[in-house]
Symmetry: C2
Subunit: 438 residues, 2 copies
């Protein structure tokens, strides 16, 4: 394998995952006496906070993604391979991957998280997740296919399920998608679909918790709920889903809604390769680490970001699954690997919480920045600035900015194209393969 490491050179750091965490480990190791091998099942980094805009067709998928090869094109000690890691063999410092076995000197597990359906196979089969670009595109295709189906149906009862959208999970993703969907309904729907009435489109946002964006302040929750109601989103708090069979979603309190579109952002779980001891797998399928992000019981394996649970007295549940944690852990681990190689003392991870933001439709957002909490237009400007600044790549920033300005001016940016028809529930075990017919 060309991925085997030349033993005469520097120690090899294998980074599994090109998300915020992995990206920052590799950047921190630039010009250091190490060789880096990054593995990811995609050849790009995804800016997950804007996936909902890809789903609504207001951004193109490639505006929120960036080639990992291109990003590190100038970094001499960096190599990249498309690969999926199936197992970690800590005892002999190797991993098993789709491109063969690879030896490492240091291993960074930055595999992130995937959608948690909490074991409900029906929901998993029928509801739409939105954690990756292919998933966001599938959701877009489904939304617009359903509108096309609605147009074909004159009988109200037959049409309604295609015009009813149920979002499960009122965290930032659910709230932002609900806002975007409502604005599409309110301002664009009747232009694109003169056959449909906006009153006929229903958007429900439900959560088993009592308030939206439970991770933020009560003030933020309160404002976001007000914005959502004003946009016409029907909130269903304290509501637990019992099932969804593709036709009807049922709730534990007995109610049910007929819908062709259930969007599931109710929880995530870490993506852990095999070979990690069950004793150190925490709630949410996360790997327990010490305060240096080091996997418990190992010397040279680190876990960072969504897949890590750094459980200390100060953080008894670990850290929140947000970009900032992954970024800061990535920098910490990158730095500590250099310290280890140079025989210097390592530095414990300290999370610097820069605050939280969520946007609800055009020109409204909520912000908790430490003790400063504010909502409305200024929060939205902060949201815009932070997200543009966090995107990878100048071209992406410019193109996203142009798209946002176009949307702001005429409410009607975005292209809403169904490039590949989405077909639910095939026997295929991947959402990502495209096959060529004859």
């Amino acid at each position: 394998m060309s991925t085997n490491h030349d033993k005469t050179k520097f120690p090899l750091v294998v980074i599994v995952g090109g998300g915020f965490g992995g990206l920052n480990v590799a950047r921190q190791l630039e010009d250091q006496p190490v060789d880096i091998l990054m593995l990811d099942k995609h050849n790009y980094h995804t800016f997950q906070p804007l996936l909902y805009q890809v789903a609504m067709g207001s951004l193109e998928s490639e505006s929120i993604a960036f080639s990992l090869r291109k990003n590190f094109g100038g970094q001499k000690n960096f190599r990249f391979r498309i690969a999926d890691v199936s197992r970690v063999n800590a005892e002999n410092n190797t991993i098993e991957t789709t491109i063969g076995e690879i030896s490492y000197d240091y291993l960074v597990i930055a595999t992130g998280s995937t959608t948690n359906f909490f074991g409900n196979k029906d929901v998993e089969h029928h509801a739409m997740p939105m954690k990756s670009i292919p998933e966001a595109l599938n959701l877009r295709y489904l939304i617009f296919q359903n509108l096309e189906e609605a147009v074909l149906r004159k009988v109200k009862e037959e049409r309604e399920p295609y015009l009813t959208f149920v979002l499960v999970g009122a965290g930032p993703t659910g709230v932002e998608l609900a806002g975007a969907l409502a604005e599409f309904r309110n301002y664009v729907l009747e232009k694109d679909y003169p056959e449909l009435k906006k009153e006929d489109v229903k958007i429900y946002l439900c959560d088993f918790m009592p308030r939206t964006i439970g991770s933020m302040s009560e003030q933020a929750s309160h404002a976001s709920e007000e914005y959502l109601k004003k946009l016409g989103v029907e909130l269903m708090m304290n509501t637990k889903v019992s099932n969804y069979d593709g036709e009807t979603i049922t709730f534990e309190h007995g109610k049910s809604i007929k819908t062709k579109s259930v969007i599931w952002s109710a929880g995530v779980m870490g993506v852990i390769p095999k070979g990690i001891s069950k004793d150190i797998i925490e709630r949410g399928n996360r790997i327990r680490t010490d305060e240096f992000c080091r996997v418990i019981g190992t010397e040279n394996i680190f876990a960072i970001g969504d897949v890590a649970a750094m459980i200390t007295d100060e953080t008894p549940k670990g850290h929140p699954g947000v970009a900032q944690v992954a970024i800061q852990m990535g920098k910490n681990v990158g730095g500590n690997i250099v310290h280890l190689i140079k025989g210097e003392p390592t530095e414990p991870f300290k999370y610097n919480d820069k605050g939280s933001l969520a946007t609800i439709g055009r020109n409204k957002a909520v912000a908790d920045l430490g003790k400063i909490k504010f909502q409305g237009f200024f929060a939205w400007l902060v949201w815009i600035f932070v997200h543009l600044f966090s995107l990878v790549g100048t071209r992406n920033r410019i193109i996203v900015f142009i798209n946002w300005m176009a949307n702001y001016i005429n409410y009607n940016g975005g292209s809403r194209l169904i490039i590949r028809r989405f077909v639910r529930g095939s026997v295929s075990h991947t959402t990502e393969a495209v096959t060529k017919g004859e």
Copy 2:
């Protein structure tokens, strides 16, 4: 069906296809006393001349496409449905479609063309066509997957087929793609793939005709061949393909090349629904029309663009399959339908040939504009201007312009993302369905 027409209103014009032809019929009929129903299997118009840039990852697919609903959002007499037309029943003025039977008063067949593999099933199965956005994306994924595969192989003989690209058909599409591929190889490859050497990537362009872009002047052919050779494309003129089995392409003169990527742009054929008499189907699977674009033997059915063969004394082979013909035929038919309704005399179609352009890599192009023929940088500026101007949508124009400027400055625009893995030769009969696994 909601697509049934309200008999109390205006005559119904059904347009099948939202390409250049169909688009212009519908535009011409704005504010006229007709109802329009456009059917297309996609909900977007594709700007085909730039598909090769989508294949190379230098443009995003949605920059060269435009939502048909959005495009006609303000046109009161326009309706749209996603549908495929399987049969025309001229005797009772109906068509059979995937959304049911539809009656028409006037029918415009603007279904365009698809790739012609000339009956070779092996080639059809293994070679890559590039006539639609899904096909261009598949080709992109294959190109970059093959580079990833090449990186994994140390043995020269095993690596070579992944680094060898054979383009069949040296028309504008083949020439433009060959130029773009060569520029990627020459300027970007080693930045993204430090493991590969540009000398190891081979690009062949073959055609059974003696010269490139046979539809243009000898002067244009000559210049394009020179530009291609300078870029390092190996030309194989007077060379007919005999087969391609996915591993080796063989030629009638006996040579063969081992390659994982054969890109086929050697010919097109019209896409004709059933129900059209075989007697009026011409070479290239095109429908014979009179000088009013009217399908021979019918009163109220028109065929335009790539699917039409208007065979007259002046045009014994019909018109070339280019955008300008489709655009002008669309305007002619739109106008004539109004004349027919008002009882006015109809106008015969006269093709105004505005000339041909093809670009070969960065800042080189060839232009035949009537008697004026020129090549080089100025031709490239004309090419840029004409293509930007012809794109649908201001946002698309701005975004394509930014991308081109970025590419021009650093040779390294574009994102080259493998969003969905391409898998050759499944049992699926469509390139376009995405299925959700469990």
